[in-house]
Subunit: 344 residues, 2 copies
């Protein structure tokens, strides 16, 4: 049985989701991949930290975190030790960063990933913060230390877009990636197609938990723009910063625009795009009319989808969930399994 | 530079497509993956064979094969040496089987794959013959000899369904795979939706080269049924033989059926399905009404698509080409790159 030792950093819904997934999948991972994932470090700024060289009981840790504090687990501390001090206390194979995203600074994700890689530990993240800010730098640091950085669930949660590009599409040259990468705005546009006003659709998205209380990051296209930066670096190896992405959100889209498009056999979607042009790689996020026969046109609600234009395969489209704690945690798990070679 | 030595077996459109792809991608493979693919054996029952320990010039070989014979290349023979004798003459890392499919016997693919694996050589195939007939046996043989068998392009040509299941979806448990896996029948159904009769749509599919002169294998669902066997073994590890698949083709579908479905917001698609049930894994191919909001409903013409029902990610759909020499050759190439670890 191959032992995989991980540090869980950030214990919001996704961090707790990963801990639960590891508990749920224990037998499956052992039987199918011959591996056991041990959680040897947990670190959360609010809920506390623990170092457990023999691994914590994931169900007990999950239940404690769900109650808001790790302190009921023997050995936990609320003294906020630094990540490097936690990593110095036991061998860790992967730091799993599941902290919230700050588009502008990239923190705390960027610092966590840098600390992990600098310490010679593989890093896996679902945050758009660090990889959206400086994927090239993180990759260089990883290469330098002989470890890897993975980030499947930073775009389309666990829907395997990034790992499909990296693995099964190897050998293809991709010239364009275009799709629906923000579930909140797609939900709002879908509701507006059904006649709801923008304001009502936004309120409904907030009620369902898709949109934040301050929905600016979604509706103005910032979330999608960060994902364009990540896709650009992944697909084209081209550094793109947030400000390089041409960005128009959905706040100006009216029910009339949508009705007019539908009358012409088209749907209005917020399309995020990274594309190789004769003038270099360009990134954009903007409301776009899509022919209703195109696969992206039919993607409704909070579902996400990306179409890749390739040289050998023409167009490939992948459709799947764009959010969710369990979906995002799956992306973390699949990154880990891929790096250790369990899935081969 | 990592040298990858391959044997090309079967030089129809796909075999020639692979040789051309390797020529076209030479620089890309060197720069991006640090590898060079050398074609050290070519074998075709009609066009001749060659063993070239230093590698053939792929462009010269392609042009000769396109003219119908390898004999213009120095060292070629038309004496039909056996594959094992060809493999004994130089080191080969991969046998690439691109021979035509016979659903019933699995030959010649099955024998080629068995010979390759028995000789301690990795095998990659685009044929549904061998893997459709006895994937479990081939896998066991490969394991026994310390090599691998790969078959991405046997289903959905190079669209990376099989490798997505194996790699990026590792850790997910899949309960159902359902989709459009035969381009000819999907093209016919799409034309019938637009008002064309079955007979006219079939004739048009034949004119475009989608359908064979004898279209039985497509329209009666045999091609799709073999793919169900391959998916069943891949996803569930469940042996399924051709006769185990419940099979209804499209010959009984009328324009009225299609019109009635459309009036109810549904599309008629030939759906191939492998599913885990309380009564074991079941396979089926049958015309099915799909809600027009589902991603499979919008898949038109010769495009293919499969939706996977998973525990962690809900439903994931991949849409892409289902045929084509270059598309299929890409699947062979991506299998090779994955096995040698070039894409990691």
């Amino acid at each position: 049985m191959k032992e995989i030792r991980i540090a869980v950093v950030g214990c919001g819904t996704v961090g707790m989701g990963l801990i639960k997934l590891i508990a749920d999948k224990r037998q499956h991972l052992a039987e199918k991949y011959g591996c056991e994932i041990k959680i040897v470090v947990i670190s959360d700024y609010i809920k506390g930290s623990i170092v457990a060289p023999d691994g914590v009981d994931p169900r007990a840790a999950h239940d404690a975190l769900a109650q808001g504090s790790l302190m009921s687990i023997a050995g936990a501390t609320d003294e906020r030790p630094s990540l490097s001090s936690l990593l110095s206390k036991t061998r860790v194979d992967f730091v799993c960063d599941m902290t919230p995203t700050n588009y502008l600074t990239g923190q705390p994700s960027l610092g966590i990933l840098q600390t992990a890689l600098s310490s010679g530990v593989n890093a896996v993240t679902c945050s758009k913060g660090g990889v959206g800010k400086d994927l090239a730098g993180l990759r260089a640091l990883a290469r330098d230390r002989g470890v890897v950085i993975r980030y499947e669930s930073s775009v389309l949660s666990g829907t395997p877009l990034i790992n499909m590009v990296r693995g099964p599409l190897a050998g293809c040259e991709i010239s364009k990636a275009a799709g629906i990468v923000n579930g909140t705005t797609n939900y709002i546009l879908t509701m507006m197609e059904e006649g709801m006003s923008y304001a009502d659709a936004l309120a409904e998205a907030q009620r369902l938990g898709y949109a934040e209380t301050d929905p600016t990051g979604d509706v103005e296209g910032s979330d999608a723009a960060v994902k364009v930066c990540i896709l650009s670096e992944t697909i084209f190896g081209a550094k793109m910063s947030f400000d390089d992405v041409e960005r128009i959100g959905i706040t100006g889209v009216t029910n009339d625009d949508i009705a007019r498009a539908r009358a012409n056999g088209r749907r209005v979607k917020l399309i995020a795009c990274a594309e190789r042009t004769s003038d270099g790689v360009k990134g954009s996020v903007r409301p776009t009319e899509i022919d209703e026969r195109h696969p992206l046109a039919g993607v409704g609600g909070a579902t996400n989808a990306v179409s890749l234009t390739t040289d050998s395969l023409g167009e490939i489209t992948i459709i799947g969930p764009g959010a969710g704690a369990r979906e995002t945690a799956h992306g973390i798990l699949s990154d880990i399994l891929d790096v250790v070679g369990a899935s081969r």
